[in-house]
């Protein structure tokens, strides 16, 4: 039973991280219908920025709490800046281009950013400083649920609630929903669509950066290549839940995380990624619009 609970929490932790990244995919897709391939790289840059900032601060002897806060803020700020810039440079000029053009541009951006970090930093795996301490009150259950698992779950939950509030109750959230529904109509009622799209990229990137910080301190090491697989997994999660739907992305991520965790725990750890992709293929075959996605009917 302990093993089951351990796997359950492992899966939920994994799922929450996927969710933080998947939200960026799903929001961007919902608004401009683009698979933002570079999103995994934005997440990687978030992890790297927090790594650099945290290490520098710890070398200069800052207290742990200050390091965590400053690293998280720096990661979010710089990731958002990258997301914003990538959108401006690589996607905005292509709004009216053929459907595949932005996708190729996104793949190019992803390759570019990966190699940029590789050249500017290093190709080695770097040890990530331990930002999340072992809490004393977690002691009795520490063999099943680690403190960092708990921190990840709580942080993700808080971020999700904040995001829901942002989209439901604020002006920019309303504008986002309007743009997602009908871009032309949104322009007609006075929504600045360009600004909404930028805001979407910024929010998505900040979420990914938080995810990057959390998972890097959970796993304990980072590398320039981590964005690729995480990006694909998160995208899988977004599609699983029905791309474009925000609750769908969270649900899809949790399902994916749990599937991976149980499959690796009970079957075999060699085929971890195979389980994820097989799940995706199966769900798409039997329910092509994803778990919570709306089936699109096209009128002629």
């Amino acid at each position: 039973m302990d093993y089951f609970i351990e796997l359950l929490f492992g899966g939920l932790t994994r799922g929450s991280i996927y969710a933080l990244i998947a939200l960026g995919y799903t929001m961007v897709y919902g608004i401009i219908g683009l698979i933002n391939f570079a999103h995994g790289e934005i997440y990687m840059i978030g992890a790297f920025t927090s790594f650099i900032v945290a290490t520098v601060l710890s070398i200069y002897g800052f207290p742990l709490l200050a390091i965590v806060v400053i690293a998280a803020v720096a990661a979010a700020v710089w990731s958002s800046a990258y997301g914003f810039t990538v959108e401006k440079l690589a996607y905005r000029p292509l709004r009216k281009a053929p459907r595949l053009a932005p996708l190729i541009s996104a793949i190019g951006m992803s390759i570019f950013l990966q190699n940029y970090v590789l050249l500017a930093q290093t190709s080695d795996f770097l040890p990530f400083p331990e930002l999340i301490p072992e809490f004393a009150f977690m002691e009795p259950v520490a063999h099943i649920v680690g403190s960092s698992d708990m921190v990840i779950l709580v942080t993700t939950a808080v971020v999700m609630v904040a995001l829901t509030c942002l989209i439901k109750f604020t002006k920019i959230g309303k504008a986002m929903r309007a743009t997602a529904q009908d871009k032309t109509m949104a322009v007609l009622v006075g929504v600045n669509v360009d600004r909404v799209i930028s805001a979407t990229f910024i929010i998505g990137s900040a979420l990914a950066a938080i995810g990057g910080l959390l998972i890097a301190s959970h796993i304990g090491q980072i590398n320039f290549y981590i964005g690729f697989l995480a990006g694909i997994k998160a995208f899988t999660a977004a599609v699983l839940g029905g791309i474009g739907s925000i609750p769908g992305a969270v649900l899809g991520s949790l399902v994916l995380g749990l599937t991976e965790s149980f499959a690796t725990g009970y079957i075999s750890s060699d085929y971890e990624d195979v389980f994820a992709f097989s799940l995706l293929v199966l769900i798409l075959i039997f329910k092509p619009s994803g778990l919570l996605g709306k089936a699109e009917t096209k009128k002629v």
Binding site: Y29, G33, I35, I45, F48, T49, F51, I52, V53, V56, I59, A74, W78, A81, Y82, T85, L89, A90, P93, L94, A97, P98, L100, A101, P102, L103, I104, S105, I107, G108, M109, I111, F112, Q114, N115, Y116, L119, A120, Q121, L126, P127, F228, F235, T236, V239, I243, D270, Y271, D273, V274, A276, F277, S278, L280, V281, L284, I285, P288, E296, V300
Partner: protein, 409 residues
């Protein structure tokens, strides 16, 4: 000529980039020795570089606009390459010249060059195969490399276990890949475009991971070595001779592929693909079997990939799963898109540029992939239809006595 406002804008851009690249470019930490390196010189380079680049981009955009407005006044001139492609009296000598160059290549250049050219030609075939799927039929396939892997591994494994020769496996590899294409395509092809992309991507990764982990079947990540090169009626060949021989096999394959693809594009099936790409519903209303047509495109594309896979295994005499990553799929897709989707000449040019350029830029090998990514983005931003855009087949109506004169379509 250059307004002050633009200079100010460029200055702001360079400031932004200096800020943007600050943590990654300037700071480098050594977490074990606990030392921080501050590389302020990088910040200067970034700021200066982005300043210059932003001015250049602006100048380019101004010129492009000017050209566009000039074009509006007179009817847009047909691009040179398309005019050549239409006129048989230019086209045939050109094709013959290219072919002659292709045939004499191994005699003109060294073995090393021939080897590189062989690789490039293999990518031409791969690009043309994917062009059927993506360019003509409009199905975005991000896992094309899976079929390539199937071809390569079918040769490696059939040779290892049953001692089968290259020529026997060549069709088998293609057919196996095509068969896999049908099996994958059957459930998947009814999905919407973007879902199709991610499912094929997932499928490509599954194939690679299975090859990596199923040691009993594929010898895992260490791969299979000592695959024999193709034989020529049992003749012994030197190393250089073998490379030249493979070069010619690939060259013949390229010619066959171009011929087949060209014939296909203008056939009933090819027109059905184009129609399907433009509008599925209208296409079904015209009585085209959607699933069947898509499935044929998908499996034909896979067939070419399987073919080239067998050749790849024979050329390198070694296969391992690391050759079949997503990056490979991305490169092949880039060939198709960069060259111009649906255009055969475009794909050929695209493959030659994308494969040969990095080979000759090996001196800058560190920056190779960086430049590759940047080129993809720049290309898409400034010329999204590709280097050589596809000309839609049109019919001219001539030879009547109508007083209105020629009717162009």
């Amino acid at each position: 000529m250059f307004p002050v406002k633009e200079l100010k804008r460029s200055a702001l851009i360079s400031l932004w980039f200096a800020f943007l690249t600050f943590p990654i470019m300037v700071i480098k930490v050594d977490p074990i020795e606990r030392i921080v390196h501050w590389r302020w010189d990088n910040m200067f380079f970034i700021a200066f570089g982005s300043f210059v680049l932003s001015i250049l981009a602006k100048v380019f955009m101004i010129q492009k606009e000017r050209r566009a407005s000039r074009k509006k006044r007179k009817i847009a001139a047909e691009p040179l390459i398309q005019r050549i492609a239409r006129e048989p009296r230019f086209l045939y000598p050109l094709v013959v010249a290219c072919f002659a160059f292709g045939v004499s290549f191994p005699f003109l250049f060294s073995t090393y060059q021939t080897n590189i050219m062989t690789t490039a030609l293999m990518y031409v075939v791969l690009g043309l195969g994917l062009n059927i799927v993506v360019g003509v039929a409009g199905l975005l396939d991000l896992g094309y490399v899976a079929f390539y892997a199937v071809g390569a591994y079918s040769y490696a494994l059939l040779n290892l276990n049953f001692d089968m020769g290259f020529w026997a496996v060549l069709p088998i590899g293609g057919l196996l890949a095509a068969f896999l294409g049908v099996i994958l395509g059957f459930p998947v092809l009814r999905l919407r475009g973007d879902y199709l992309a991610i499912v094929t991507l997932g499928f490509g990764e599954i194939i690679r991971l299975v090859l990596e982990n199923w040691n009993a079947f594929s010898q895992g990540p260490s791969g299979i070595a000592n695959i024999p090169r193709p034989g020529f009626f049992g003749m012994e060949m030197t190393f250089a001779g073998g490379i030249t021989y493979i070069y010619y096999i690939v060259l013949v394959l390229v010619v066959i592929t171009i011929f087949v693809v060209n014939r296909l594009q203008n056939s009933r099936l090819g027109r059905a693909w184009l129609a399907l790409r433009e509008d599925e519903i209208a296409c079904q209303a015209m009585g085209i079997d959607k699933t069947k047509t898509k499935l044929i495109a998908f499996s034909l594309g896979a067939f070419w990939a399987g073919f080239v896979g067998v050749l790849f295994a024979a050329k390198t005499t070694f296969v391992n799963p690391a050759s079949f990553t997503f990056l490979e799929s991305a490169i092949i897709l880039s060939i198709v898109v960069l060259g111009g989707m649906g255009s055969i000449i475009g794909v050929i040019v695209g493959a030659l540029i994308l494969i040969l350029l990095p080979e000759y830029l090996r001196a800058l090998s560190e920056y190779r992939m960086l430049a590759f990514g940047a080129i993809l983005v720049i290309m898409m931003v400034f010329k999204p239809e590709g280097i050589i855009s596809n000309v839609r087949r049109s019919y001219k109506f001539k030879g009547t006595n109508t007083p209105e004169g020629e009717i162009h379509e």
